[in-house]
Amino acid sequence: MSEQLTKDNEFLLPASNTFVYSTMLAALMLNWLPWEGFWLALRPDFAALVLLYWCTYKPYRIGIGIAWVVGILADVADSSVFGQHALAYSILAFGGIMLHRRIQMFEPLEQPMQVFPLFLLSYGAFALVHWLMRGVFSWEFFLGCLSSALLWLPMSMLLQSMRRVRRNPNELS
């Protein structure tokens, strides 16, 4: 019973604004490491992961607007056309907000299968813009969606554990 209670309370864990934005910044920094060649294709999109995490766990705080801003920053960094990442991340955030109850309902091991279509959809929008602008469809990057989905579990567990309040070991219970 008590286990059930703690599980239900998981989504009530506190998250300060500073924490939310610093995780997003850290994710962007991870994206901006000098990845090259094959590793670049295999790179999970850390910013998308963190955005999706916050959209599923704090859907009323972190929304499409913030996803859009993060997308614009990613556009500047990648020197892609303005709005390309922004579009993809807005769609991802929308998916996360609409499905947040559904994703949380599943066991941790089943969640990656639930978020994979969202990454696929958002990357699909990205690749579509790429195709319209440059006439090439970059299939390789779909690998990145797969690795993002695989990283979902460790990433969400890490963020979840960072949000948990540490109990003072000397405190009497």
Binding site: V76, G83, A86, S90
Partner: protein
Amino acid sequence: MDQTQSFRFFNRGPSPVARLVFFVLLSLFLLFVDARYRSLEVVRGVLAIPVQAMQRLATSIYTQPGIWWGDLSNYIDSQGRLASENQQLHMQAAENAVRLQQLEVLQMENAQLRKYFDISQHADYPVQMAEIFSVNSDIFKRKVFIDKGTQKNVAAGQVVIDENGVVGQITRVYPWLSEVTLITDKDHAVPVQILRTGLRAVVFGSGNISNLSLRYMPISSDIQVGDELVTSGIDGTYPAGIPVAKINKIERDPAYPFAIINCTPLAGVDRHRQLMIISGLNKAPEIPANDGKQVESKGKKAKKAKQP
């Protein structure tokens, strides 16, 4: 009245669908404006300052341990290596001095000959060193960022070379950085001449780092494997006579009107860290106005091809 008040308690602004539609439309608008008019460069420049600072930080976090390790191992085995390197450099310097003398003589001679022919000097450009700062994180774009921007008078359209040949051209400038489109970027065109025969051609990037293709050459054209391509200087962007590529494969299939020709770039397009920016090119004389319309449309096409 009370009911609406309590209802307001749950009001969370526009619904997610409305927000999605708003932001998707905003993104599409930006996409359109940015792709069509390129009028958002100022916004991009302003946003680029903090973003690029963060990128620099990320890159340095990644590379710093390696640099420290290099420093440490340098410190440990520097003495002997430095001595041998010093000796080697001395020898090289002596050799270079001899060559330099020859070069000076040749330059004098060249200047004199040019005076006879009244041709403006065109092989002497101000050169600026720059270092690669980061590589574009999209494997389908061949772009790098270098650490000189408008602060150092770098401008879009200037040419970037290394000691072996052309690397690319500057396509976007930020205050402290600039973006170089490599010659191997897909559909990036460089007008060239074959050194052996003087035949003019255009070499296109293939999107692959070690490959360029020479398109629209008739099957019967006089090209051999191993021919060297140098810039022809006809477009006014690339100065004449800089090595670009070497031909490594020719397929002449009579079924097609053009031969399929592959070349490898001579410059270490994907290797070096230090690059040189050539600045202050001579402006080309203006095109006469009488047949301006035709020329303009042609020029536009060429421009489009050059800046993908």
